[in-house]
């Protein structure tokens, strides 16, 4: 993937990996990447990517357990979002073609993202209120219905709430 300087929106400190700084890069198209030098490499490379800074951090921490995030340095990462991957609910063929399902929780707001090759395809917003994970609109491709159902059920179980769809 080639990026030119005018495609980059911002660059922020993200943390340190094996003594090397890791930067969070945001493209003007809203794509995020963690850039840095892994152990034994001489050049910076993209270590993780995603459609949300918290997803990048989540993927980076899974791939590189030695990564140490910078405390509240990054504006983009300072929202304490909690990310979970629910891609096990996707069919094998959708997984093979690079699809993923994530939930990103920030306070009472829970966003479910369906991504392909780390780029957001669909986003479904929900809110934790009155003991329920409440959804308003859901517009997603029908091939993702089962995966989203699984992801929402998993998230609701984890939060100990019901699922509610507002009409």
């Amino acid at each position: 993937m080639q990026l030119t300087p005018n495609e980059i929106d911002s660059v922020e400190d993200m943390g340190v990996l094996d003594g090397n700084p890791i930067k969070l890069l945001r493209t003007k198209g809203g794509f995020f990447m963690a850039i840095g030098k892994p152990r034994g490499k001489y050049r910076d490379e993209a270590l993780a990517a995603g459609s949300h800074p918290a997803i990048v951090k989540y993927n980076l921490e899974r791939a590189y357990p030695n990564f140490q995030p910078a405390m509240m340095k990054s504006e983009l990462l300072s929202d304490n979002s909690k990310v979970e991957r629910h891609s096990h609910f996707l069919s094998d063929s959708l997984r093979k073609s690079g699809h993923d399902v994530y939930s990103v929780q920030n306070g009472d707001r829970v966003e479910f993202q369906i991504t392909k090759q780390n780029t957001k395809l669909y986003s479904v917003e929900s809110q934790l209120k009155d003991g329920a994970l409440t959804f308003d609109k859901m517009k997603i491709g029908k091939e993702f219905t089962r995966a989203l159902a699984g992801a929402t059920a998993e998230k609701a179980l984890q939060c100990g709430v019901k699922i509610k769809i507002q009409k």
Binding site: R85, S87, H88, L90, D92, G150, A153, E154, Q158
Partner: protein, 345 residues
Amino acid sequence: MVKQGVGIPTDYKKEAHNKFDVLWKVKIKGRKTLVDDIPFHCSLRVFDNLKKEDIEKVKEKIKEYGIHTPDSKSLHFKPILFHSKHTHEDYYMLKIDGMSEACDKFFHHFKEGYGFSHPKFMAHITIDKALYDEINKDGLEPEEIEFDDLTIENGASNTIDTLEKGLKHIGAAIGIAAGLAGSPTSTTAQKPPQQSTQPGASQYDSKKMLSSIAQVESSKGKNTQYPAVGGIHHGESAVGKYGLMPNTIRETIHMNRDLSAKHKKALNLKGDDMRRYIQDNPGLDDAIAQKHLQRLEHHFGQNTSKIGYAWFEGIRGTYNADKNKKDIENHWHVKRIKDAYSKEK
């Protein structure tokens, strides 16, 4: 918050004070007492009366059946609300699964002629509403339950005999024996009777066993396509390098504090979702297989045949096969495991 001791029917308290009970006192989440002077306990059998000769008979049968204090880590605890058809009352309980068959044998031996008896042995600990709610809210790890020595009580907290002082549970005994295997001061003689050890068991190696299982199940991860299995598995297929059934995976995660903390969500996964979850979490397959093997070693010692059989037929299946004198040595899976084990370096 509900007060301690709420939800215990009056009849229960009366019975606890008036009857004889062969039981293990139990500590749950650091709490010892259910209500008043009644300790938490798991009864083997409640008796209307026990004469001196009956007590001797009880002690004899405990010895004969090889009843030992259970290790909570090998058991399953589930909070339930039990409605008794006998007293027509509801009881908050922790239902226990996985108790040794010796307990059933004991229960059935004394079923008739000693007062009221339920149709079959149901291992449980009566709890109160406060604890029932707490467990439902926060969960319960097997490590949070501690069994004391087996005792005979003449009314609650009036111990008239301690039957099993010294040998805490099978796991501890096996652990000591395994640790000392090969040493001149081996404690093999202290092992409980159902824990058989094969000739050459001192050379038993868990890593080698795990590697042999992976070889037999999937050629060490090369072939992980498994057919669907019926019966209790409801059409699910085995998963991963060690051919673990989703049921076993869920059970192992549930029973292990570390795994449960990290992978609680897997307890609700089935079939392909479980397979993909295992794929997405590198190393989880190995961790679960290792824990499951430890559990089998706890049940069957270092007996490669029984472990090989149990990997395929389950713990209960292996005990049943043993009881029915089935030739497990010639079971195809056992033969393959033993063959792979002999080739492992």
